[in-house]
């Protein structure tokens, strides 16, 4: 699967970005490059156990405005495996609680001579705003319900590792699609690589509008289980909901939990993913979470590989002429003149 082994001297010129903000605006080729690079780094670090020095001298800041243990740890380890220094920055206990704006906070960190920020925030678009205001790399580690690009990549990486090629595969995303950044990053990545995507859940969590993006919408898990090659079971994001979108957890689990019973009607080689933290008994029962087709722990391992690839591609040595090209400048695009 991976292309010719890479020496990791300089970042390939076909990768023009200094940021990783979302998967929506990456090309299929760029996504493949990320996945291939992750595979090479996974091998070069012996399954993430050996250290490299390809980011030696770089300083990466974990700027987390929202609680996270797994993603933060994964990014820290990924950076250290590549020889970078990592600074942890938590919103609580910082000047943010004293009323400083997040942009000012980030500019202060930038002034200390860092190379990239890995940012998590509860508001969509915050990494994009940072990318506009800072002159360092910005990596989105989850912005509200918008995107979580490295999670989408690691899900796709895990699928690709098993299936070889995901074009033509049918992937069902089940659960709280409305509030899930993982869902959005998965949808973009999967569509760009040619997979068929089904989103499944109650209409209060799964809008008909997904069809406008070329995604199939289903409200009946039993109907889609037999057709899927992969099921990705997403957590209910109680913290992002104004009013509860279903009558009870019990009823939700009855309709949408992936159970051993439902697994019997699936293809034998159905792959089960769950980005976690999983709520056993809500979106997935224990027998399914721990079944042989479950990739839940592979996902965690592969997360490290994908994050190493992301950090290297955005912060690694580049040829001089590439320096400006990668500045994605989101803003008013189509219009501007009347």
């Amino acid at each position: 699967m991976p292309a010719a082994p890479h020496t990791f001297d300089t970042v390939p010129q076909v990768w023009p970005h200094r940021h990783l903000l979302d998967l929506e605006r990456l090309t299929p080729g760029e996504i493949r490059l990320l996945l291939d690079t992750a595979a090479q780094l996974k091998e070069a670090t012996a399954g993430c156990r050996r250290k490299l020095t390809i980011l030696a001298g770089r300083t990466i800041v974990n700027l987390f405005f929202e609680n996270s243990t797994r993603t933060r740890t994964s990014f820290s380890l990924a950076a250290r495996r590549l020889g970078a220094d990592v600074v942890e920055f938590s919103a609580s206990g910082s000047s943010l609680s004293k009323g400083e704006s997040f942009i000012d906070t980030a500019k202060n960190l930038e002034a200390m001579g860092i190379d990239a920020v890995v940012v998590r925030h509860s508001t969509p678009g915050t990494p994009h705003l940072l990318a506009q205001h800072l002159d360092v790399g910005v990596i989105n580690a989850g912005d509200g319900a918008h995107e979580h690009p490295t999670q989408g990549l690691l899900d796709i990486f895990s699928i690709r590792e098993r299936l070889g090629d995901i074009s033509g595969a049918t992937v069902g995303l089940v659960g709280d699609i409305a509030h899930s950044r993982t869902a959005r990053s998965n949808v973009w990545g999967l569509l760009k690589l040619g997979a068929k995507v089904i989103v499944c859940g109650p209409p209060t969590l799964v809008s008909k509008r997904w069809e406008e993006l070329g995604v199939e919408v289903s409200h009946n898990l039993d109907n889609i289980v037999p057709r899927c090659d992969v099921l990705n079971l997403l957590r209910i994001q109680f913290e992002r909901q104004n009013t509860r979108p279903f009558p009870s957890v019990r009823e939700y689990a009855h309709l949408y939990a992936m159970t051993g019973e439902r697994l019997k009607r699936a293809r034998k080689d159905l792959l089960i993913l769950a980005p976690g933290p999983i709520n056993r008994g809500v979106e997935v029962t224990a027998d399914v979470a721990d079944c042989p087709q479950s990739l839940i722990l592979d996902q965690v391992t592969n997360g490290l590989a994908v994050r190493m690839a992301t950090l290297w591609l955005t912060c690694g040595n580049r040829l001089p002429q590439m320096d400006q090209a990668g500045h994605a400048q989101p803003g008013l695009t189509a219009e501007g003149t009347l």
């Binding site: 508001t123 705003l129 104004n242 989101p330 803003g331 695009t333 219009e335 501007g336 003149t337 009347l338």
Partner: protein, 433 residues
Amino acid sequence: MKKTLLISGGRVIDPAQGIDRVADVWVRDGRILAITGGTGPGEPLPDSADETLAAAGLIVSPGLVDMHVHLREPGREEAETIATGTQAALAGGFTSVACIPNTEPPIDTQAAVEFVHQKAVRADTCNVFVVACVSRNREGKELAEIGQLVEAGAVAFSDDGAPVYDAELMRRAFEYCRMFDKPILAHEEVLELSRGGVMHEGLVSLVLGLTGMPAAAEEVMIGRDTALAESTDGRLHVMHVSTAGGVDLIRGAKARGVRVTAEACPHHFTLTDEALRGFDANCKMSPPLRTAADVEAIIAGIADGTIDCIATDHAPHAPETKMLELDRAPFGILGLETAVGLSVSRLIATGRIGWPRLIEALSTLPASILGIGRGTLRPGAPADITLIDPDLTWQVDVRSFRSKSVNSPFQGWTLRGRAVATIVAGRIKYRLA
């Protein structure tokens, strides 16, 4: 010694009198003296004027009236003051503004109305008319002292920023205002439906993962208020209509004879929710930018008169508040200094409406809804006049704005049409350098 001003050779448009012709406008002592070329005797004109403005190639319009402006004073003087906001109004071609009472404290007493009037006199810029609160302290619980506020000079009532939520209170307000013949300016929003929202609920909000404010949040409330206005024979003015469904509801209510008028904002007929893709807080306002279909319905509503007037909802915010994350940044954008350019670019240059209709929407009708005795060049009327260059193309630069704030999503846009002179009571208060 009576002072005279001659505005010569412009295209004079006064929808109130059905005038649209090249003519001279004579002003004496702060009032319109005559428009030349008319029929009837009229007053003899002076041989020469004390001051002359050559207006060939320009539109000579009754002074523009913006009936929806947030001047922020008292309470938010870091964002705008009565002095700076009215300077911005003059630069935008407006000779009169109606200021909305969601200040801190809100304008709900005679003393507060008097404060605004005094500040406006001291600023000596454009006319400032006061919209006062419907409810005491804008809390939506009991009526403000509407009768005394009318005596103090309030021209209309509004709790804008928020809807009057209690339907019973709204009904009472319609009934009570009827005896003063004052309209209620309504911010139409069902708050439960838009709670936590930062933009229109649609495909773009779905993709961006931002909480949406559905069109139904506006439409349900317009439905309620048109029903209440109908049953009480009260006067409803729907502020900042943003949805196709809202336009339809107003069209239907008008057809039934309900006393309802409506306004639309330039940003709602210019931008769509696509603008939010850059996560720019300058594109965050309430009601939010909607879809292309809504934009089309609003333009059609302006063209057929369902939407009576264009108002800006000028909503200054200090820069630091707009540099926050999208969900923490406040709603609202500047409007006064881009209104004419956006209206000409979007409505005239595209052939959707003609100049007389635009002047009606920007002057005649807002003046008549508010009952302020302006919006016309009739002899004897106060000489509030705006000269507009219909073909001037110019680039928006917020750094040159007279407003104290810079929160405009139109920075850098090239627009067509701009006010080049603004005359209030016969005095030239603004000229484009």
